[in-house]
């Protein structure tokens, strides 16, 4: 089968042929989702090299688990779920304190540190001041909130899909997204960005 035919196949068909040992089927799946996954992981980790490594790790996990994929679920949701776990593992490896970051405080507000790391070389290459400003707004969000904003507004996942990816109940997803948006509104107002 030639490449242009593979591009027409659905995700489930590609998973099926990749599980039978067709490398080109798996490569097409990687090609189809590599941009979304590396973007998602990059926004989670804020580090380009780590994002590439974790993305590769994610696809290797997918390859090893193809026979366990349940076609009742969307392939993309399953893939994001694996990427979510890999990103969280990476964050915890780099900063063991992050383990406690996902738990709710007494008032239900997540206590997460606001990242203040030095700008990466990747970031310093950005020429537009506005783009830097916008990136900072997203980076200022605590990781657990930032992830929900990313999945909902950057990757167009539904609330149910976000629940499947993050393992959170639907009510918690709604609640956290609401808080994340409110936090974003405050940051935007403080920075004088129009539109809120």
């Amino acid at each position: 089968m030639v490449v242009f035919e593979l591009a027409k196949l659905t995700d489930i068909e590609l998973v099926s042929i990749a599980a039978r040992g067709r490398e080109d089927g798996f490569e097409e799946l990687v090609r189809r989702y590599q941009r979304q996954i590396v973007s998602y992981v990059f926004r989670m980790l804020n580090d380009y090299e780590s994002a590439l490594d974790v993305t590769q790790e994610v696809f290797i996990k997918v390859y090893n688990s193809l026979d366990r994929y349940n076609s009742e679920y969307k392939f993309s949701t399953w893939l994001y779920r694996i990427a979510h776990n890999a990103a969280i593992d990476n964050i915890r490896r780099r900063d063991p304190r992050a383990q406690s970051l996902e738990t709710d405080g007494r008032d239900g507000v997540i206590r997460l540190e606001i990242e203040t790391s030095e700008p990466s070389p990747e970031r310093s290459r950005e020429s537009s001041e506005r783009r830097d400003e916008i990136r900072n707004v997203v980076r200022c969000l605590p990781a657990a909130y930032r992830e929900l904003i990313l999945l909902r507004h950057g990757h167009d996942l539904s609330y149910e899909e976000i629940g499947e990816v993050t393992g959170l109940p639907l009510g918690t997803v709604k609640n956290r997204l609401f808080r994340a948006r409110e936090m974003m509104r405050q940051i935007l107002l403080e920075r004088g960005i129009d539109g809120v």
Partner: protein, 191 residues
């Protein structure tokens, strides 16, 4: 977050407005919100604020530039995944080798500690048999290789004086058939 349905006259909380904007309310509740905001300026203001915020967030996320992927990333990932599952880095294969190594270590330890001559003799006998079989296998492989080289050499010698192109073509055919055989064997192994 509250999910209860409010009456048409009742003002909505910001959370309820957000759910409405996100399309997460029933059609009856949605109609209730619409008719309420038509008559309530404070709820209409909340609704407009939320729509503006969602629009801004969407725009911000759209403005973020994606990281650039290196050329051939998909192919490199596929190769890495393939070698991971078939090579020694594969957890299954590695586990098998570790079990075999552990068993050998245990056998060696038993032999060393007990110093049982019968066991030692049996072990040496088994070892000698394995070495003998390996030797036979290697000799057979060597003979086969010599035979293949001899046949190819004589064929090439026959072709070279007539036409160098024919010899080259023969070499290409030979190498291609080897590659095809290798591919077929790997597929069979995988299936």
């Amino acid at each position: 977050m509250q999910n209860k349905h409010a009456t048409t006259d009742e003002c909505r909380t910001r959370e309820q407005i957000v759910l409405f904007v996100d399309g997460l309310v029933s059609s009856a509740e949605g109609a209730g919100v619409e008719s309420h905001v038509a008559a309530c300026s404070s709820c209409l203001r909340l609704l407009n604020e939320e729509k503006a915020l969602l629009g801004t967030i969407d725009r911000i996320m759209g403005d973020l530039s994606d990281p650039v992927l290196p050329d051939g990333f998909a192919a490199a990932v596929t190769t890495a995944a393939e070698s991971e599952i078939h090579g020694l880095r594969s957890a299954t294969v590695r586990k098998g080798f570790m079990i075999a190594a552990a068993m050998l270590a245990v056998c060696s330890a038993i032999l060393f500690v007990t110093g049982n001559s019968a066991v030692v003799g049996l072990s040496f006998g088994l070892g000698a048999a394995v070495l003998k079989m390996t030797s036979v296998l290697l000799h057979s492989l060597r003979d086969f290789s010599v035979g293949v080289v001899g046949v190819c050499r004589s064929l090439c010698l026959q072709f070279v004086p007539a036409s160098q192109a024919a010899a080259l073509a023969l070499a290409v055919v030979f190498i291609s058939s080897l590659a095809a055989c290798s591919r077929l064997l790997s597929r069979q192994e995988r299936s």
